[in-house]
């Protein structure tokens, strides 16, 4: 009996230590890619990872929920408990830097960029936006464009209008459409309103003034900003009345149904239109949001290296795959975005995505607000509150004041 017990204990000890060994080969990655094209794209990238690093096991700790709010809450509790995963997904830019660099939670990756030669294949205008000073803090996997306006060409023809290229044109076209009984603009929940706001700001102010707002050199209380906010208010008057009950894709559905003419949404909308059975260019069309031609307002999903990452070597392996041509070309065509690298295999990408890749190579790169490039979380949350109050009471003056206060309290303004 005792011998059996001893054997049992010894075996368990062996098994346990074997488990420890296996655990050393685990790479736990947080993301919010849990369903649809996102999950499939991640799976494809994981396949590449498994091929290149067969002795590492990828643990998918994805949590869904509103561009990561639940995932970030879970991540926050893990970091508080000093139990970080091997890596996590975040929006490149201030969302990552303002939160995690400020708290010394992630490491600079310059060494990795040099080893892998990424500085040669990623656009120059991108690097400063994902760095703090000279330190680069994340590996961007994909690029999405925020300032895109979508429509159904055959419907526009039927209504006798064209896609507007400036906001003045938009307001005029919208008036015509409204008279014809068509909702000019389809929009949804509050975050889509912020998404619209940033394109209006960019279009109204232009690239330099817009960028200045985010680094502390611009003036939120200026008359130009007032004009931009007033334009925003006028544009909103042409939006659907039930906006606050619609997800972004239900708003895009209005465009597909012919009830609405335009929706301004990031280029993940392309996946939606295609899922409805529509073909790019023939069935659905796109144009840069009014007044933003030549400007690529981007956001990027990227991965970081936590300080004290679990299995640091495994984490670095994952980052290498995330930044590699094979990894990005596996992920992006399925996800519906373009690679951050400039050397993606164009044959894998559809009509819209190849045109986006062209724009990415030539346009001026500007950061998105809603999707975490230009403002850190605290600042963005203040802007969100201010926006919500504006949507409730329509007071442009109060809105602008709140934006000024937000920049002073949580942004770089003095």
């Amino acid at each position: 009996m005792w011998r059996r017990l001893l054997v049992g204990v010894a075996t368990s000890a062996l098994v346990l230590s074997a488990c420890q060994q296996a655990a050393a080969g685990e790479v736990e990655v947080f993301s919010w890619w849990t369903a649809g094209g996102e999950a499939d794209g991640l799976a494809a990238m994981v396949e590449v990872f498994n091929e290149e690093y067969p002795d590492l096991t990828f643990v998918n700790s994805a949590v869904a929920g509103g561009a990561g709010t639940d995932a970030r809450a879970q991540l926050a509790t893990r970091l508080q408990a000093s139990d970080p995963p091997s890596s996590w997904q975040g929006h490149a830019g201030q969302e990552l830097i303002g939160t995690y660099v400020a708290a010394d939670q992630i490491e600079p990756l310059n060494f990795l960029y040099q080893e892998e030669g990424w500085l040669d294949v990623m656009p120059e205008t991108l690097i400063p936006l994902i760095s703090e000073g000279d330190n680069i803090y994340s590996v961007p996997v994909n690029i999405h464009r925020a300032n895109v306006m979508w429509y159904i060409p055959s419907n526009l023809e039927e209504w006798g209008v064209e896609a507007p290229t400036t906001w003045d044109e938009f307001l005029a076209t919208a008036a015509t459409l409204e008279d014809a009984g068509v909702t000019p603009l389809a929009i949804g929940f509050q975050w889509t309103h912020m998404h619209l706001l940033e394109t209006v700001l960019l279009g109204s102010l232009g690239a330099d003034a817009y960028s200045a707002l985010w680094d502390g050199s611009g003036d939120w209380s200026s008359a130009d900003v007032t004009a931009a906010l007033e334009t925003y208010q006028q544009v909103l008057e042409f939006a659907n009345s039930d906006a606050s009950t619609l997800e972004w894709d239900q708003a895009a559905q209005l465009v597909v149904d012919g009830t609405a003419a335009f929706t301004i949404m990031g280029d993940w909308a392309e996946g939606f239109f295609k899922a409805q059975g529509l073909e790019p260019e023939t069935d659905f069309g796109w144009a840069p949001a009014p007044d933003t031609d030549g400007l690529f307002q981007f956001l990027s999903d990227s991965f970081v290296l936590p300080v004290d990452a679990k299995n640091r070597e495994g984490a670095l392996a994952w980052l290498r795959v995330a930044g590699s041509q094979a990894g990005q070309d596996a992920f992006n065509p399925i996800k519906g975005s373009i690679p951050a690298r400039s050397d993606g295999d164009r044959s894998l990408y559809d009509a819209y995505l190849t045109s986006a890749m062209d724009d990415w190579a030539t346009d001026t790169v500007i950061g998105s607000l809603t999707h975490g490039v230009v403002a850190n979380d605290a600042w963005k949350a203040e802007i969100d509150s201010a926006l919500g109050l504006f949507l409730a009471d329509g007071d442009v003056g109060a809105f602008q004041e709140a934006l000024v206060a937000a920049c002073a309290e949580t942004g770089p303004c003095s």
Binding site: G37, T77, A275, G277
Partner: protein, 290 residues
């Protein structure tokens, strides 16, 4: 139990009484059916959406019946949610059971043993019922992690048992308050100790109380999302977290999502349908009389 129907005025003649009786009954039934329709409305929407194919799902076509009984969604949802349904069962059954036993013990003590401070202790327990979960999230995770239970179902069971102490104690205390003290006294006179009285005298009387507590705790634990989100890992996710993940963050397949939601609600629904009358009987036996 009363069986007197609603009469309109002082009874005056058998004929009028009968007419009034059937009018009353008809009215009552009509009202009940209207309420039943109201109660079933959201479930109906979820059901027909769950039976539709992806292109049939849109706000504009909410009330349209599905073109056919499309059980694929349920199959797909079940495939994705099956392991998490198991996790939820492994979570909710022990949590509810342990919760009930602890509540019963506490309720018995607080209702039959008037030691100095017992009222204060009871009040302090009750206040615990009212804290919002979000406000204790961070220290809770830190604590669970420090005892090495982060990520395991055991940790989540422990948390639910602890936060269930106030409500289960309340229910049992109120229930045992209706049990005459003479029973405890007679047990003592017969020479039984604390545990003896509890096992042989109190427990057999506790069925209605257990019914209420088990059903309530099972439902609460099964449907809880927040603690489940931060205290478990993918292998141990209960169905609430998995269901949320199924929706994803981009385009939601509402047909599969609704099917999944109905599947996730099935166990609790079954519990209520099968055991609902015991829940009611327990409540009526004084479990929450205030």
């Amino acid at each position: 139990m009363t069986s007197v129907p609603v009469t309109i005025a002082a009874p005056r003649g058998a004929g009028r009484r009968a007419w009034a009786r059937s009018l009353g009954r008809g009215l009552r039934f009509g009202l009940l059916l209207a309420c039943a329709a109201f109660f079933l409305l959201p479930i109906w929407v979820m059901l027909i959406t769950g039976l539709k194919s992806f292109d049939e799902v849109s706000l504009a076509r909410m009330w349209e019946l599905p073109s056919g009984i499309n059980l694929d969604n349920f199959a797909a949802a079940f495939e994705r949610l099956a392991p998490n349904l198991l996790n939820s069962i492994l979570l909710a059954v022990p949590a509810a059971a342990i919760s009930a036993v602890i509540g019963s013990m506490n309720g018995y003590i607080l209702s039959k043993f008037k030691f100095p401070g017992s009222d204060l202790v009871f009040t302090l327990f009750l206040v615990g019922m009212f804290i919002p979960y979000q406000s204790v999230l961070i220290p809770l995770v830190l604590f669970v992690q420090s005892i090495g239970l982060s990520g395991s179902l055991l940790g989540l069971i422990l948390v639910h048992v602890i936060y269930g102490i106030p409500i289960t104690t309340l229910i049992f205390r109120n229930y045992y308050a209706t049990v005459p003290t003479e029973i405890v006294e007679s047990g003592r006179v017969d020479g039984a100790g604390f545990f003896g009285i509890y096992r042989h005298l109190i427990l057999p009387l506790s069925i209605p109380g257990f019914a209420v507590v088990l059903i309530w705790q099972f439902t609460q634990v099964w449907n809880e999302f927040l603690f489940a989100l931060v205290l478990t890992r993918p292998q141990t996710w209960p169905v609430t977290v998995a269901l949320n993940n199924m929706a994803g963050t981009q385009i939601v397949e509402w047909n599969v999502q609704m099917a999944g939601a109905l599947l996730a609600a099935l166990p609790t629904l079954v519990v209520y349908i099968l055991l609902g009358r015991y829940f009611l009987r327990g409540l009526m036996a004084g479990a929450l009389k205030g």
